[in-house]
Structures are given as structure tokens and as C-alpha cells.
Amino acid sequence: MKRKERFVEALLAFSGGLTILTTLGILIVLLIESIAFFNEVSIVEFLTDTQWTPLFADKHYGILALVSGTILTSFIAILVALPIGLSIAVYLNEYAHPRMRQIVKPVLEILAAIPTVVYGFFALTVVTPFLQGFIPGLSGFNSLSPGIVMGIMIIPFISSMSEDALYAVPKSLREASYGMGATRFQTAFRVLIPAASSGIIVSVILAISRAIGETMIVAVAAGQQPRLTLDPLVPVQTITTYIVQVSMGDVEQNSIEFRSIFAAGITLFVFTFVLNTISAKVKRKFQHKYE
């Protein structure tokens, strides 16, 4: 009996341990191949060159050209998702009838359930032509359209996490504000949002991290031209899109071109890891605030 109990516990613990192997696997794979990459390409060139052309005859390895595309699309996405998502959170929390809330939340969650390649199709075939109607200089592939669509995709992230944060603000604060004659608008923006700010910040950081790692929307609609620019109207390439581009082509394994996807991968991993760590830190602080 005892032996069986112990065996079961060991088996369960082993299953959990597999997740640690996953993390180790990711780190080891990225490090080994990146080290091989940096044996051939100097890290100074990697960080300072302004061109990324590993697939051309004249090879440059300036990751900035991919980083700028990534930051540009993610920035546009947050610009769309933050005001809309936060407004939805305030509305559902302070204004809406509970039944309205029950209907709206699952509908918004559908937005998060749609496969991202489908959003890419939407960006390319609906949003880009629509925008070209009044932005004549907009090229067929650009960062504006996928950025906006990515923003729509991450609205539910921000709205639902911000709503939880607003909901967690103690009732007494809200009542005190109303008691002093404040309107719902004043209560929301002067009392609730400041009180819930850390939770809202966490939601935004996680949304940024999600946007940076997003692949298919930009792979479909942003183009495949790495360039160091902040112009949202021209084709760009993100880190993720480059990895996809190399994987789709027939690049020889163990070549420098092949290894460059691991260098791009580790850059992406560092970005998202830093963001996730910051958000975890903020979250831990926030949990103790009202206890």
C-alpha cells in the first residue's frame, strides 16, 4: 500500500518535472546554437549593424533591423488595445448591467480563441485595402495593418485582466468616493484605476510580451523586408517572421543562415523573459497591497 502511494507521488512529481526539462531544453538549445552562431558573427556587429541580410550574398547580421519591426508592430498593437481594453474594463466594472457583462465577456473571449493565421488573412485582405482607401502611401505589406489587427486580438487580454484588477479594489474605496458625490467617471479614473494600477500594468506588460512573440499575423501581412525604420507604412520584418521565413525555405542545416534563427530566437526569448519577469514582480507586490 505504502509503496504504491509513493510510486504514484513519484509519477506525479515526474510529470511536473517535465516542465522544468522543457525550460532547460529551450535554454540549452538556444544557447548552444547561438554560441555556434556568435563564433562566426561578432556580437558587436549583431547589436550595432543596421542591416539584416543573412540570406543575401552580401551578408549583414544587424538584429536591430528585425527588432525595430517587432517593436513597431507591437507598439501599434498596444496603442489600439490599451485604450479600448481599459475602457471596456471600466465600463463592465462600473457602468454595465451584470447581465450585459455576462454576455460581453464570453463574446470578447472569442477574439482570443481565433487562430492567429486567420487574423493575418483579415489584416491582409480586409484591413490593408480599407486603410489604403485613405492612406495612399500605404504599401500592400506594412506594419500598420497587422499592428491594428494584433491590437484587436489582444483587447481581451487587457480588458479581462484589468477588469479583475478593478474588481479586486476594496468596496470601501469605491463607496467612499461615491459618498463624496463623485460620478462614476471620477470614481473610475481618480480612485479605482490608481488603486488597481499595478494589476493594469501587469496586463499591459503581458500583452506587449504576447505581441512581440506573435508570428502569423505579421508573417502574413507585414512583409519580409528587414529594415530599421519607424515608418508604419512600409514593409518590415519581425524577429518571428524571419524565423518562419528561414524555416519555410530550404536552408541547409548547420549553416550560418540556419543558425541565425537561433540567434533571432534567443533575442526574442530574452525580450519576452524580461517582460514576463517584470510583470511577475509587479504582480507579487500587488497581491500584498490590500491584505
Binding site: E9, G16, T22, Y95, V126, M248, F273, N276
Partner: protein, 284 residues
Amino acid sequence: MSSRRNRIADRVFKLWAIGCTLIGIIMLGIFLVNIAIDGLGRIDWDFITSLPSRKAEKAGIYVALLGTVWILVLTAIIAIPVGVAAGIYLEEYGKKSRFASILEINITNLAGVPSIIYGILGLEVFVRTFGLGKSVIAGALTLSLLILPIIIVATREALKAVPKTLREASFALGATKWQTVSKQVLPAASGGIVTGVILAISRAIGETAPLILVGAIVYLNKPPQTPLDQYSVLPMQIFNWISRPEQEFSVNAAAAIIILLLVTFVMNGIAIYLRYRWQRKVKW
């Protein structure tokens, strides 16, 4: 005076916020209608049972659809037992141990890793090191790692909702820990676990990026027969059709998107329904 201004600000914000709420829903509507107009006419039995082709009007999704089913089944077989077991360990056994707290931090981190990084891991470990090549099983293993954190978190949430009294009653009757967990706690939490698992699997079905890395292929003339065969999946087929300049392929993409969304929505619908029923039935 200022109180009037405040009330106007309140109204204006309310209208703006309603607009924001509607925008997401309106976008969803525009989008679905657009896809339906583009693609519905293209869907017929031939489209579902035809092989891929370089001619748009002859091409179908047969290989990709069956590939998706293969991926779905294999991923479920691999990820569900491991994920639920890890969830049980964290919630019922490991509670205060150092190992458990490391696991917990680790799982939170993994949930934030972009899916394409899992693709890189799968490429290096399953495809190259294990020598599985561009096979269905390599794809399923990769996606299993991707959805493991989701299943673990969902399992823990469901177990957390089971009240302590149930466990204490079982212990008081002389049951061992595993008897308590397997005969009392798990059945009580099953509704929540099933919901979480379905949502995780439906996420796996829509994934494209990691499968591009581990070698899903577009032009195959037959669906996989064994887990070691090459494969394609629906999102991959869609991506390929979208990337082509010809208008006819865009129509194919829309049609395939309808099928993919149908599968995703049905699974999400089932999950939401189960959650609803479970919440109503179980009142502790």
C-alpha cells in the same frame, strides 16, 4: 457648474466605452461576414475530400484536415495525462515543498514563452536529436509542450474549487492520499478539468508557427498513415494559400478558414457549455 461638467464627462465616457465594447464585437462581425462571403460558396464535398493542388479550383483540404485530426488526437494523448498529473502534484501533493514552488514559477514562465520558441525547441530536440524527422509525432510532441502549462493551470484551478471537507471526510474514513485524490477529488473536479483540456487542445489546433519549424508540409498526396509519416495541418494549408498572389487561392483560404473556425468554435462552445453546467450543478 463643475458638477455639471463632471456629469457630462461621465456621459461622454459611457458612450465612448460602449463604443469600445462594441468595436471588438463589430470587428468580429465584419470579419466573419467577410470570410463567409468569400469562402462559403467554395465549400463542397469535393473541397473537403480533394488533395492539395497547384490549381486553385482543384485543390482541397483532405490531407490538411486529416493531419489536423492526427495532431489533435496525438497531442491529447500525450499532453492530457502529463498535464493533469502535474496539476494534481502541484495542488494535492507538493504544496509546500521547494520543488513545487520552483515548478510553479517555471510554469508561469513557460506560459509566457512565444509559441515559435517551442517550434525551435521541437526542431532541435524531436526532429533532429531524436531523429523523428518531419513527422506527425514530432509535431504533436512540440504542441504538447506548448499546451502543458495551460492544462496544468486549468487542472489546478479545478482542484482548488473542491472543498477541503471532501478530502477530510475521505481521510477520516481511512482512505489513503491517492485513494482520496483518485476516488473523491478528481471526479469532483472533472468538469473543470475537461473544460480546461478542451480549451487547451483547441488552442493547439490553431497553432501554425511552431509546426512550420518542425516541418508541417503543404504538398502531400496522402494523409499520414502512421505517427512517423509526414503531415500537413489546416492552418498551414491556409497560410500557404494566403501567401499566394492569385485571387482564387484567397477564396480557398477563406473556405478553409471557415472549416478551421468551425472546429475551434465548436470546441470552445462545448467547453463553455460544460463550464456552465458544472458551475450550476456543483454548489458546495
